[in-house]
């Protein structure tokens, strides 16, 4: 039996097991820390920085930082939420996100996050990058216009599917998601039933022919904001 770690988030006392991250402990306690790259069951990647919190006054990503005894964590503050709006807006202006006709609309975590934070338009100028689409696979396609470089597909393909379908290439502004074949996604061993084909938080990796099966209005985030499922834990 290992001892519990006590710490606070925005003044609320909570407990964590040794090795548990701030974000995991917060989830269990029904405190929502916004995140995009982090997904349950996957190693934290720490790329989006949406979950940045202040730990004893210093910025840390809650998804990678283990909870520590007597830590004082700030999460839901005006300043941090402004940083989060910045991250969301940066992801919007960096790519080409066409929500009104994107089939992921309503199920998209980036869009849902923008709604949660009340973002109507980004304060930053759009970059309108020239990005490509890979439709070589019979069942799955990649639209790099909508990729937010979170790393979920890379990690899932390796850790869950036991394959190596995805990896990043290039650096900085030229960083993009690439696949393990010169012939494109169709040349890889990706199967439509692979977990990596369904973890994309946005409309970048999508299955063909099922896009509009669920009508707009009945989709995941149409009814309640992203994060509600965690916050409802608190009520119980």
């Amino acid at each position: 039996m290992s001892e519990k770690i006590s710490f606070t988030i925005d003044g609320v006392a909570l407990e964590a097991s040794p090795g548990q991250t701030i974000l995991e402990a917060a989830d269990a306690a029904g405190i929502y820390i916004p995140r995009l790259c982090k997904m349950k069951g996957l190693m934290p990647f720490g790329s989006c920085r949406l979950c940045t919190v202040l730990v004893n006054g210093r910025p840390q990503s809650a998804c990678t930082q283990p909870a520590g005894q007597n830590m004082t964590v700030e999460n839901n503050t005006e300043k941090l939420n402004d940083y989060r709006r910045s991250v969301i807006e940066m992801l919007f202006v960096e790519g080409n996100h066409y929500c009104p006709f994107c089939e992921k609309s309503g199920n998209c975590e980036l869009q849902a996050m923008a709604y949660r934070f009340g973002i109507t338009a980004p304060r930053y100028p759009y970059m309108f990058p020239d990005r490509d689409v890979d439709a070589t696979h019979p069942d799955v396609m990649i639209d790099r216009n909508r990729c937010i470089l979170c790393g979920r597909c890379v990690l899932t393909s390796k850790a869950v599917d036991g394959k190596n379908v995805f990896q990043f290439t290039g650096r900085g502004a030229h960083k993009k998601i690439s696949v393990n074949s010169a012939a494109g996604l169709g040349g890889t061993n990706l199967k439509v039933i692979d977990k990596a084909a369904e973890v994309c938080p946005v409309g970048s990796i999508i299955k063909k022919r099922v896009g509009y099966a669920v009508p707009v209005g009945q989709r995941k985030f149409d009814a309640r904001p992203i994060g509600s499922e965690i916050e409802e834990e608190k009520v119980k």
Partner: protein
């Protein structure tokens, strides 16, 4: 042809034990052999190393010195940092372009020459400089550029461009470089050779227990010289105490901060002092392997350094029972980098040593707990490890009394820019910027960039501040800007550098730096307005706070420090407020696209 390629690749991979974690070396050798890493070559490497081909692509596409498409036989990399700009670099670059008939970024039609820009190559004290393949050419002029192109076109090997060798070991038969050391001031720790007794530090260390060695380094109050200033003894203690199956000492010789070149001079003139320090570190933390991570720009020093290592092996200072200590088996290998500033960040450097793209790693765990190949690792700066040797030679008391009482020892400073005597200065901690400017012959400076682009720009009102850990802490880059210099142009250059060098892993650094640069460019173009300063301040704060590693956490510093110390430079360029209207809004520009589509002019403007 393809059989031949596979055979060559297979030979290269065998050289590195078909070990995927040596992919940097494999790709480097393949690159040297073929000039680029083709798709077929990537397949062959992947097959030999039993790794997915996309991992090979991922690595190749990360490093500036690797290419996936054919590059010329002769690649001319023009160093375009701000100091080169200040020394009329443009004239040199234009001449290269004219003589070769291409723009920078292009390759000549015959495939003979490629022209590229590259950030600081560690030659700011002899700018403008360039790399021609691995050969360094310095103090370039337009005339010299013309001659170089002519010589190369007539079939001369780039090595033949070096007519006269520099001083000291730059003239060594394994270096043969025109680079000069420019050691302007020799201090007691590294460059004052009078009383130095090679080998004594290591001998003394091996006569002590590892814990005693660590205690000596702590007592000397040695702090890291790379910029962060972490206490070296504490780092070693953490590394030694962490559980692991093996431990590694890594020397960070990826000196990439623009304006710094002191490690280049140490590597040229004091390699034994460094390797002795690495051996002592190995003994102290219980490591059997040391890695010198040498930046790709310093490849011209590699054969020389390999030779020094071989000599040390031959004298029994490395290898089984190193320096006669039974059971202490320590050796050092050199890991070449390939043009990525972020690899100076210690966890990115470790990724690179492991044959990966230079992405920083998630911390915690810290390298002392889980570093190279997931095992405890101490990463130290070149200069820090040299200090270690001297501390063990002369005693911690001798070391700690040098300096200003708080910061112990000397600091090597790389001074460049508008001054009469650019070069390396080894100075006890505590010197003021003013004193330094007088020494270097740059007393009329209007601004000094302390610590390179990731440091801060300091104005005359702060020239009384001291170089030390408690005041102006720096890895050693000091760039001097004299009267008439356009400081915002400097900032612009620095931001261009960070945009180029961001690894792209996290959102704030990847996107935020580009946004900062966009708004800065707008202000410099005379199209900025008052609200843009607040806009910049928000971005700068957010990128610093939310970025994942030291690169992003410091990259907005050029804007931050100039907004604070030189705000008037920005304000002078802003558009004047015009009766409640947004002055930067250009109606004509805004409707231009629509006018073009409609094929008629708007009646309103």
């Amino acid at each position: 042809m393809s059989d031949n390629l596979e055979k060559i690749v297979s030979e290269i991979c065998t050289r590195y034990g078909n070990d995927a974690s040596r992919m940097m070396d494999v790709v480097r050798d393949a690159h040297a052999r073929f000039g680029f890493v083709s798709s077929a070559c990537a397949d062959a490497i992947a097959a030999a190393l039993k790794t997915p081909r996309v991992e090979v692509e991922s690595l190749v596409s990360f490093y500036a010195f690797f290419a996936a498409h054919p590059r010329a036989k002769v690649v001319i990399r023009l160093c375009n940092d701000i100091v080169d700009v200040m020394h009329d670099g443009h004239k040199v670059w234009e001449t290269f372009e004219q003589e070769l008939g291409i723009k920078t970024g292009e390759t000549t039609k015959d495939g003979a020459f490629s022209l590229e820009y590259t950030p600081c190559i560690g030659m700011c004290d002899q700018a403008p400089a360039a790399l021609i393949n691995d050969v360094v050419v310095t103090r370039l002029t337009a005339d010299r550029a013309r001659e170089i192109v002519r010589e190369l076109k007539s079939g001369s090997d780039p090595a033949g461009l070096v007519k006269e060798f520099g001083d000291g070991n730059n003239a060594h038969e394994l270096v043969r470089a025109m680079v000069v050391n420019n050691i302007r001031e020799r201090g007691a720790v590294v460059f004052d050779a009078e009383d130095m007794q090679p080998g004594t530090g290591l001998k003394n260390a091996l006569a002590m227990s590892p814990a005693e060695v660590i205690r000596a380094v702590k007592t000397a109050r040695l702090r890291g010289r790379g910029g962060a200033g972490f206490p070296a003894g504490m780092k070693w203690e953490f590394t030694r105490e962490s559980a692991g199956s093996f431990r590694t000492v890594i020397c960070n010789a990826d000196e990439g901060e623009p304006g710094t070149f002191k490690d280049r001079v140490i590597l040229t003139e004091r390699p034994d002092l460094l390797f002795e320090g690495m051996t002592i570190a190995g003994y102290a933390i219980g490591a059997e392997q040391g890695i010198l991570y040498l930046r790709g720009e310093y490849a011209y020093l590699q054969p020389f350094l390999e030779n020094v290592l071989n000599e040390r092996r031959a004298s029994g200072l490395l290898g089984q029972n190193s320096a006669g200590k039974a059971g202490f088996n320590f050796d050092i290998r050199i890991q070449m980098g390939a043009g990525a500033y972020v690899c100076g960040e210690e966890t990115a450097l470790i990724s690179s040593c492991e044959g990966l793209r230079g992405d920083p790693k998630t911390r915690p765990p810290f390298p002392a707990q889980r570093g190279y190949r997931g095992q405890p690792t101490a990463v130290n700066n070149v200069e820090t490890l040299c200090c270690v040797t001297r501390i063990l030679e002369k005693g911690p008391g001798w070391f700690s009394q040098i300096g200003n009482g708080k910061s112990a020892g000397t600091k090597l400073l790389s001074i460049s820019g508008d001054c009469k005597k650019p070069g390396v200065y080894e100075i006890p901690f505590g010197i003021t910027l003013q004193q330094l400017l007088v020494k270097a012959g740059g007393a009329d400076a209007i601004a000094v960039q302390v610590g390179g682009p990731s440091g801060s720009m300091v104005g005359p009102k702060d020239f009384g501040r001291q170089i030390c850990f408690e005041d102006l802490a720096t890895g050693g880059s000091i760039m001097i800007f004299g009267p008439g210099r356009n400081l915002l142009q400097v900032v612009q250059k620095f931001m261009e550098f960070f945009v180029e060098e961001s690894c792209g892993y996290c959102t704030p650094c990847r996107v935020g730096n580009r946004l900062i640069k966009e708004r800065l460019d707008r202000i410099i173009a005379g199209k900025g307005e008052k609200t843009d300063l607040a806009y910049l301040e928000q971005l700068v704060e957010m990128v610093k706070a939310a970025s994942r590693c030291g690169l992003g956490q410091t990259s907005p510093n050029p804007v931050l420090s100039t907004l604070k110390n030189f705000r008037q430079c920005y304000e002078a360029l802003l558009l004047k407020e015009t009766g409640g209207m947004q002055p930067a809004f250009d109606l004509k520009e805004a409707v231009k696209d629509a006018e073009n589509i409609a094929a008629r002019a708007s009646v309103h403007c």
